[in-house]
Symmetry: C2
Subunit: 251 residues, 2 copies
């Protein structure tokens, strides 16, 4: 019974600026191992991880992401939802498992499995003193990422992770989260809109103050303004088509 | 730079038999807090968690899941993908964000966000000496779970988690995982089928031996036989319809 992990996770913040030092291959292997030890739905293990240190490939992925830390990091991982090996088993055993990986259920299982592995890796890396940031921005152009990484059918790149020693002038800090009582419900979901509005309003003030403090008053937007701005811009509308093309949500 | 978390995660195994002692509310709050500190895509925080200690509700959820440890545990959590609060913001700000939560991209963001939170909770709980098991089986009947928990539109129950003190005769141990080189690729995906077949065959022997040892020879199935059996049975085929009904993957 310790508070070790609790205290570690409370310090988490995304790191977007790294020292140029590579992470040793041995450490990367430990991170992957720790990732694999996450729970996996029905033992399916529907994931692959691409470990990238080739600067040319990093540059290509940066073109998709637009973020400099896709290149400037200690190591880059890409997390792939993967039923390719299951498709091999399907062919060899002459069974019909296609519905399991082409259904919406197969997508949920796959995406969740991948995320559990990734989060184990994130936590293990932070415990070893590294910083990390998730790269959902690789989904800006899934077709291109598949091409760059040579991903076959029944696989799908969900996100990346940049890892490395935090730069000396990296000054991140934990970002406020929605109040616990807003996201945590006792026994039943509380869908009272008025209560929800009050909680969002309170959180808006917290976030506004957080930005004000961090930027010497230059930024002061609220959470709900951010959400409204971000979510009303059309994002990655081709995702369903891309999933279909890779063999997902076909039935 | 420590190996603390690495060593903790290497010991992970799902626990399905708990002592009847409740987990204190204070501890539950710490777990939720630790969960919230996981990275969240574009700060969206697309999750809610239902904490369940009401025995009647546990019984109802057990009817969906079929698993005794949905009732017999120290605490039960249900993880909900949640755009309900974003829909409130949508209405109040008079913007149109619907495409962001009704698209396949919105589903990926939501499911991944939820899983990151859940895995932080799992790791923190294990550090505190508790055991846990994920309950994908709540997806056996999503409509019923929504009804039991009073889940509104733009929410979707993804999975549960049973937590508690491992029972004294709980004798779980880490289960073998696919060889690291099978799931980890350097710079590009290696889609060589012959290599893959050899690795699966080797892993089949590992798994068969694992079962033989644990059951005094009663079970000895291979991984690929398990996969073929499980995945060729039709599982949760109504998931896309249920997602659509809850406002997901509509465009």
């Amino acid at each position: 019974m310790t508070d070790y992990v609790y205290n570690l996770l409370k310090q988490h913040h995304s790191v977007r600026k790294f020292n140029p030092n590579d992470i040793p291959e041995e450490t990367i292997k430990e991170l992957i191992e720790a990732g694999q030890n996450a729970s996996t739905s029905s033992y399916l293990q529907t994931y692959s991880i691409i470990g990238i240190n080739d600067p040319t490939i990093k540059e290509q992925l940066k073109e998709v992401s637009g973020q400099p830390y896709v290149v400037e990091n200690g190591y880059l991982l890409v997390f792939v939802m993967d039923y390719y090996r299951h498709a091999t088993i399907n062919d060899d055993k002459k069974v019909d498992m296609s519905v399991s990986f082409e259904s919406a259920e197969g997508l949920l299982v796959g995406a969740i499995d991948v995320a559990l592995v990734a989060q184990n890796i994130a936590v293990t890396a932070e415990d070893k003193g590294y910083g990390m940031v998730y790269l959902g921005s690789l989904r800006n152009d899934v077709a291109r990422v598949k091409d760059i990484l040579g991903l076959p059918e029944h696989t799908f790149p969900l996100f990346g992770m940049a890892l490395g020693e935090p730069a000396d002038d990296e000054n991140g800090e934990p970002k406020p989260r929605l109040p616990l009582e807003h996201i945590f419900h006792q026994n039943k979901y509380n869908s009272d809109k008025e209560r929800q509005r009050q909680e969002i309003e309170a959180f808006d003030q917290t976030v506004s103050e957080y930005y004000r403090n961090r930027t010497n008053g230059e930024r002061s937007e609220t959470w709900s303004d951010q959400i409204a701005g971000f979510m009303s811009s059309k994002q990655r509308l081709e995702m369903l088509e891309q999933l279909n093309k890779s063999g997902f949500i076909k039935q």
